[in-house]
Each structure stands twice: as C-alpha cells, then as structure tokens.
C-alpha cells in the first residue's frame, strides 16, 4: 500500500560549521489516507521542525541535510519553489498553535478564507464567498452568512481556530498538519475542535499529522503514535498498543510523569490522609467581589461592571491544598491576586490569621505580606532578568527585614536553594542561564524566603513539560509536608488537581459553582458545568484502566 506521506531518514540541522546541531535526526514515518498520526514529544524535541521541514518553511538558520519526503509518490525536495507553493495549502494544509496571531486582524474571515480559495481553486467573486460560507458552516461556525464578514477580533479563540481550519481546508488538501492546534484553547473548546477534526477527516478522508505534547489529546486523536525525543523517533506504535504498553523507557517515563489519581496513590504522597479541618481556618474569604467599571461617553460615566470575581467564599486551613479549577477568564487568577491585595477588591472580607486584609492600612499590610506569597505561571517573566539569583531571593527578605545581616541572609539563600533542589553556587547567576523548570524552583525559593504560611500557586506548571511538571509538583508536595505550607493552587489541569489537592473549587464566570473534597467533586460532580468540564478533559487510556 502506498502511503499519502512518507518521510524517510529526514535530518534537519541548525547552525553551520562546527556548531551544527541536528534538531531532527534521521526521522522516518508515514501517514496513510484517512489516518491520524500523532507526533508526541516535549518542547525542543523537534516535532515542529519536522512539520516545517515537510512544508519547506524552515527558519533561516535551519537546513535540511538529508532524507527524502514523498507526498503521494512525489518527492517534495525536488520541486521548485513555485510548484511548492501549490503544495502548501493545496495538497497539504496546516494549522498552527496560536489562532490569535495566525489570522490577519485587518481582513475579514471571508477574505482570509477567500484568499486560499483563489490561490488553490481559482474561485472569485460570488463563488468564492459562497464557498467560504460553506466552509465556515462545515467547521461549525454558527450563522456563517453573517459572520463571514466579521473581523478576527470579533471571534473567540475557539472560533478563530475553526477559521484557521476552514482556511486549511479551502484547498481540499490530502494531508492536514496540525501543530498543537488546541494548546492555546480551554479544555471544553479543545474537545469541540478535536471532534471537529475527526468529523472532517471522516468526511474528506484526509490524512492528519497531529503534533502535540499532551498524552490525553494524543489518546483521543491517534491511530498511530510516534514519540519524539531529542530529534529522534524513539517509539512508533499503533495507538491501542502504545497506550496499553509503551515500550521505550522515555514513553514509560512520560506516562509516569502524568499527574493523576493513580500517581497520587503510587507515590503515597498526601494520599488518603486528609488534613485536620478543625479549629480556625488560616484564610477565609467571604463574599469577595472584584468588579471593573465599564465607562462610556465623554464624562466616563460608569454604565456597568465586569464582574471578574463575583461573591466568592472559600476557606483554607494550614497545611492543606485547595485547588481552584476553571477555564481562562473564569476569574481564578483575579481571585488569587485579590486575596494577596495585588489588585483592588471591590467588596468582601478576606480574613487571614484573624485579620481582615481588606481593611488594613498600607503599612500594616506591607508587614503581613511575608505570610502570603505567590508563584506565577510563566517562569520566564517572573524574575527580573537584570538581577542575579541571590538578589532576587534576597529582595523579599530585605523588604520584610528578615535575617540579621548580609551574611545571615546569604546563608539562608544557600539553604533555600538547596531546599528546592538547586545548588548554592547558582545564586551568582542570572535567570536566563536556567531552564524553565529550574526557574520555577528559584521562584519557589524566592517565595519561601520570607517564611510564608500560604503560597498561592498560579498555574505554576502550565508552562512546563510533563516530566518537569512532575518534578515541580513533587517539590511542592515535599515542601508542604516539611514546612506545613497551605497552597491555594490555581489550575486548569484536572490531573494536577487529582494528584495534589485536598479540596477543590470549580470556578465559572467569576463564581464558584461547586466546592468540596477532591474525591467528591471529581468523581461525583453535582453541578452541570463541572460535569461538562470533566467530560471535556481528554483522558489517557492507560493499560491499568483497561484491566
């Protein structure tokens, strides 16, 4: 049987001269008609470069140094650039990760789909418009007649990704390359887009090369899985076999890193021991509201409010982890920053250790800040790139007057770095010298420097690869047991909740719709939104579950 796409011994290199690095190293795989092959791997494994090599759209520093790519029997590397233009979008469609930046903001959806139609199908005028409407209908955009004339900013993220898919389909390609098409989307939207892709595949019989780092997504989409690691395909199997019994040690490592209930039981971390909830809570939030005024007109009169956080109440006891789960825009980060008084809270009581933070004056609040700290999502922007690690960690101690002198503080820094699994000599380096996971460790050390009782973790692992995520979660767990920290853990990842949290609160449009112990909420959800959210999460069909 001839395959639709055949990649043979593809090698793509970066750099020249002595500093050559093979980002894609001798990779071979194939995609058949109507088949979905998932290219699975962590960041830097060469998945995207493989896709770009197929499209011959490599960045300037890279070049293909060996191998061959056959599309329906034609070698792509022998085609002229002119012929290649017909292949791109015509025979191979491509969708990218970021729908926001992949669409041109000054052209309507119809014009952008129309451009592809004119290029590859030669459609013009009314035919083009009709076909664009048809395509938008096919990708599930409601009221396509009207919305074809709208601009990208009028569409939501999921809708934009649908338009991207419509554009990719305009040339009726034989092969669709999807590079992390749902990574920037919420789980419920992700589920819809994945379903759409499967439907479209059934109808058109196209092959899909699906690139992702998410085992769950891979499990939902794949007919076959190819695992990439450091530029090489280390394992290639049929989907069922792969999820039942991964062979390569790296694949097994990936499965083991995945946070979920199994891992919690396996690691015997926190496990069944629920913390003691008697006595006074460390933090109790009552009817907290954060409203942003909407102003209109010449005199900026307030005509309404955006209710970012609306009437939220939650309790947190020492030594426990409460997870806040929700999709983007649900107000979970606003709530976290509101509790820390990093933004103005409109109304409500935030009682921490018996004091209402909302009513404290600035000077007292400044002193209380050492009790509550925050760890941010993006390890790249959460440290001042102009400061050395030692100065970054010392800053909080200086502001809070912790440590009896410079040498005492330096000793503390050494100890903190050791505690989070770094080395004391790292303190004389700058943030850019560290990887994402290491930076997140330093951020945790920084937060711990002022000896807080509560740490708000704002999606601390979302920007990290699965294996690094596992290490950071491990570290957080470890620190909780040693130091008795309380965590308010903000996340969108249900697996992390299962693994780490004792209690969970589900947020939707600024409100908490359901809260309770993790077991209760996740395995017997009461609210309809919680059920919808849980069903949208792509579950990994692991071998253990099947038995």
């Amino acid at each position: 049987m001839t395959h639709l796409l055949e990649v043979n011994n593809l090698t793509t290199q970066f750099g020249s001269g002595e500093r050559v690095e093979a980002v894609v190293d001798n990779v071979s795989f194939s995609v058949g008609q109507g088949e979905t092959v998932v290219l699975l791997g962590e960041s830097g494994s060469g998945k995207s470069i493989t896709a770009l090599s197929i499209m011959r759209l490599l960045p300037q520093a890279a070049r293909i140094s060996g191998g061959d790519i056959l599309l329906g029997g034609d070698s792509l590397f022998t085609l002229s650039e002119r012929a290649m233009r017909h292949v791109r979008g015509g025979r191979i469609g491509m969708i990218f990760q970021e729908p926001q930046s992949s669409l041109n903001p000054v052209l309507t959806a119809g014009q952008q789909i129309g451009e592809a139609l004119q290029q590859h199908k030669g459609l013009k005028g009314r035919d083009q418009l009709l076909r664009a409407v048809e395509l938008m209908d096919a990708v599930g955009i409601p009221e396509p007649d009207r919305r074809v004339h709208e601009y990208p900013h009028q569409f939501s993220g999921g809708m934009k990704q649908r338009i991207m898919i419509a554009m990719a389909l305009a040339g009726e390609p034989d092969l669709l390359i999807a590079d992390e098409p749902t990574t920037a989307l919420d789980v419920t939207i992700q589920a819809q887009v994945l379903e759409l892709l499967r439907d479209l595949q059934k109808k058109t019989g196209m092959g899909i090369l699906f690139i992702t780092h998410d085992l769950g997504v891979a499990s939902v989409m794949a007919d076959r899985v190819a695992v990439m690691y450091k530029g090489q395909i280390v394992e290639q199997q049929g989907s069922d076999a792969f999820f039942k019994s991964p062979e390569h040690e790296y694949s097994i490592h990936l499965f083991n890193s995945l946070p979920n209930r199994d891992k919690r039981i396996r690691d015997e971390k926190t496990a069944a021991t629920m913390p003691d909830r008697s006595g006074k809570p460390l933090l109790s939030v009552d009817n907290m509201k954060v409203y942003y005024p909407i102003r209109k007109g010449l005199f900026k009169r307030v005509v309404g409010h955006v209710q970012a956080v609306d009437d939220v109440s939650i309790e947190l006891y020492a030594g426990e982890t409460v997870a806040i789960v929700g999709e983007s825009g649900s107000g979970k980060t606003t709530m976290g920053k509101g509790i820390l008084q990093l933004l103005e809270v409109t109304d409500g009581n935030i009682v921490f250790n018996g004091e209402d933070l909302n009513r404290l004056d600035a000077a007292t609040l400044r002193k209380r800040r050492s009790d509550m700290q925050i760890v941010f999502q993006d390890p790249y922007s959460s440290m001042n790139p102009r400061m050395m690690i030692a100065d970054i960690i010392e800053e909080g101690m200086l502001a809070q007057g912790i440590g009896s002198g410079s040498s005492d503080r330096q000793n503390r820094i050494d100890k903190l770095l050791t505690d989070v699994g770094m080395k004391p000599e790292h303190k004389l380096r700058y943030p850019h010298e560290f990887s994402g996971g290491q930076r997140q460790r330093i951020c945790i050390a920084r937060a711990l420097a002022v000896e807080p009782k509560l740490v708000i973790c704002d999606e601390p692992t979302s920007a990290l690869d699965v294996s690094v995520q596992a290490q950071i979660l491990d570290l957080l767990n470890d620190l909780q047991q040693r130091l008795g920290l309380a965590y308010l853990f903000i996340t969108h990842n249900i697996g992390v909740v299962e693994y780490l949290a004792h209690y969970v609160a589900v947020m939707y449009q600024g409100r908490i719709v359901e809260q309770g112990a993790v077991e209760d909420v996740l395995y017997a959800p009461a609210h309809s939104y919680t059920r919808k959210l849980l069903s949208a999460v792509p579950m990994v069909r692991t071998g253990t579950e099947d038995k």
């Binding site: 050492s370 925050i374 999502q377 440290m383 001042n384 790139p385 400061m387 800053e395 502001a399």
Partner: protein, 465 residues
Amino acid sequence: MPVIFLTDGLIFLLLLMVTAFIWYARRHEHLRVPWRQVGRNGMAMSAVVVLLFYIIIGLLDSMHFHPRVETQNSTESRYSNEIISVLDVLLKHLPEQTEKTYSAPFATHAYAMETIDHEDGTRTREYPRLQHGGTHLDDPENRGQDILLKSLPGIAAGLLVWMTISFMIVMVLARNAGVTISGQLRYIVHRQTALPWHTILLTLGAVLVLFVWAFYLSHYYHIFGTDKVGQDVFYQAIKSIRTGLMIGTLTTLVMLPFALMLGVMAGYFRGWVDDIIQYIYTTLNSIPGVLLIAAAILMLEVYMSNHSGDFSSNAHRADLRLFFLCVILGIMSWTGLCRLLRGETMKLREIDYVQAAQAFGVSHVTIMIRHLLPNVMHIVMITIVLDFSALVLAEAVLAYINIGVDPSMSSWGNMINSARLEMAREPVVWWSLSAAFVFMLGLVLAANLFADAVRDAFDPRIREY
C-alpha cells in the same frame, strides 16, 4: 588662571557620569554583554575612534584659562583679559594668520581684486598676495609642487604619531594577554583578537595621518581658505566641534531626568499621575518647537542686554546663550523619550516580577529603581545615541534662522548661515559651507553608525536571549 564656564563644568560632570556608568556596567553582566557585542562590531569601533577624536578636541577646547602675560617685572604674574582654551594653545598659529578677506583653500593670492598703489605712482587692479597663506613661496607658480613636498613630512609625522600610539596600545594588550609583542601583533594582523583591533588601528591611522597632515600644512596655507573677515576656516571648523558636542550631549543631560522620572512614574502609577504627565507633554508637544526656542532666546537676549554688567566678557555671554539653548532644546525633546518609557513601563508593571515585588511589600520607589529603570535602559540608550546626531543637525538649522548659538561663537550652524550670502555672490565662495559640511558629516555619520550598533545590541527584539 583657569576659567570654568557653565558648559565646561557640565560637560566634565557628564564625563564623570559616563566614567561612573562604565565602571558600573563592567560589574553587571546584563550591561556588559550588549556592550561587548558593540565592541565586536568593526564598523561601530571605527565610528568610536572618529567620535573619540571629536570628543578629545571638544574636551581640549573646554578647558579655558586666562593666559599669563609676560611683563618686565617677572616676580608678579599678570593675566590677560582674553580667555583661551588648551586647544587654542595647540593651534596658536591659526587665529593669528588672518587675511583681509576671502581666500580660497591653498591660495597664495586673495580671492578679490584690489587696487594697489605702486611706488612708482601707478595703480593696478590685481589679486594681492596673501599675508600668511603661501608666503614662503618665492614663485606662486610652484604651489602644486610645494604642497606635495610639504605633504610628505606631514604624512610622515602622522605615520610616526600613529605608530607610536599603536605601539603603546599593542604593548598594553600584549601585557594584559601575557604574550609577546610580536605575538600580539600577529594576532591583530590576522584578526584573531576579540575586539576588532585591526580595524580600530587602521581607522586610528587614517584619522591621525589626515589630521597631522592638515595641521602641518595649516602652518603654510589656509587649507580650507579664509572667510569674509579673513579668518582661517579650518580653525573655525575645529572650534565648532565643541559647540556641536555641547548641543548634542548637554541637551541629553537636561532632558534625561525629566524623561526618566516622569515617564516611569506615569507608567507605574497610572491614574491621575499619568493624566497630569500626559497633559503636560501633549501640551508641550503641540507648541511649535522653533517658536518656543525663538521666544526663549529673545527673552534671554533682552535679559542680557539689561544686565550687561553681570557678564565679565563676551565669552561668558555666548556661553550662557549656548547653555540656554541646550536647556530649551532639552525641555522640547524629553517628550518623545517620556512617551516611550511610559508605554514600556505600563507593560512592565503588569509583568510577574513586579507583581512578585509588590507581594513582598517592596516600596514603590524601590520597585521603580530596581525593577523598572534597569529594564527600560535599553530604550534610553538607543534614544540618546539616536538623538545625538539629530541635535547636532538641529543646531545648524537654528543658527540658520538666527536663533542658534551666539554669532560670535564658532559653530557649524553659523558657518552655514554665513554661507547663505557667500553662495549668492559671484564667484561663489564654497569653502565655508564645505568645511562645515565635511566636519559635521564626520561627526553625525560616526554617531549614526555607532547608534545603529548600539540599537542592534540593546534592542530585545533583535537581540537573542
């Protein structure tokens, strides 16, 4: 007896600040890395050599004093009323070599005919011999040959100076690297040094040979001719360097505190602070700049004529006017940088590390100084070097409409302004304009090339890491 003008003091203060900054930057990796990248750029380093040449001349010209007057009674020292600079001492021969009026570059005869009474009573109209230019020639017909002959020792002297300085540089480099001098020389010739010393030394050679040659020949000829009152144009062009540098740098010194403080404050506090600062700079921006400068200069002139007793000399008056021009240009030009800084700060204040500092209870002032200022420095750096050349050019434009520096002060703007009439006469006097043009081009081109390299090194969108 030394005299310190206001602008002299400020320029040396600026020099001190730059030195302090270099010392500070050497100890900070994030500043050292981009500067090192600038250092590796051959084009930029040639530009630096040219700039340094201008700066040294400007600084020499900024050390003023009353010269000692020789008297019979040598126990008591007397000082002349005249104020001169160290540069004037080095170029002593030039201001003394004045002719009656225009003469072309390398001329031996005046540019205008004169009626001359001969001893025998006859009168003829002819081009008279110059009093200083080419007087050593018995026969003016040999001029071309003489220039070539005189060029040889000039160029030889230039090469000698170049080799001496180069040798000293190579010696220091060799000692720092711990290799022999010949070894270091081999590295440089084969371009195996971290800094592009090969290019730097060649540029240095070109600049030195050209200057020493010109300096040598200026003893015998007016190499750029003379102006209407017979002053040497080469001398004027060199004296103008100080004015150009002052305008380019002092203005920055004036505007920087405004731009930094207001820009960062507006971006950080937002709300009413931002409203007020925005209001100020939009208002200031909507006033035509030339109008404001003209008004300020006219006011200053009125003040100075009413208080003429306060100024001990014309030089002091001219200096005050130069300073005011810098101040007013500074006040006009902080808005652009302020706006850039406000936008960048607004972006930065939402970034996680600023929020983290707030969560630690760090004070607003500390956050602004420690987290915001260092992270907007690349914008400041780029703006300063880009603005420099624009300001040097602005001086020329302002002088052209007579609101520039004092007419008695040498400046390229004044030279160009006077060229307006010179270009209109027949035969055309082209050398004032050309000399100003060549000197200004040298400075502005070098500054622009340097600015390009600085931007490449500092702009985070271009830079990797």
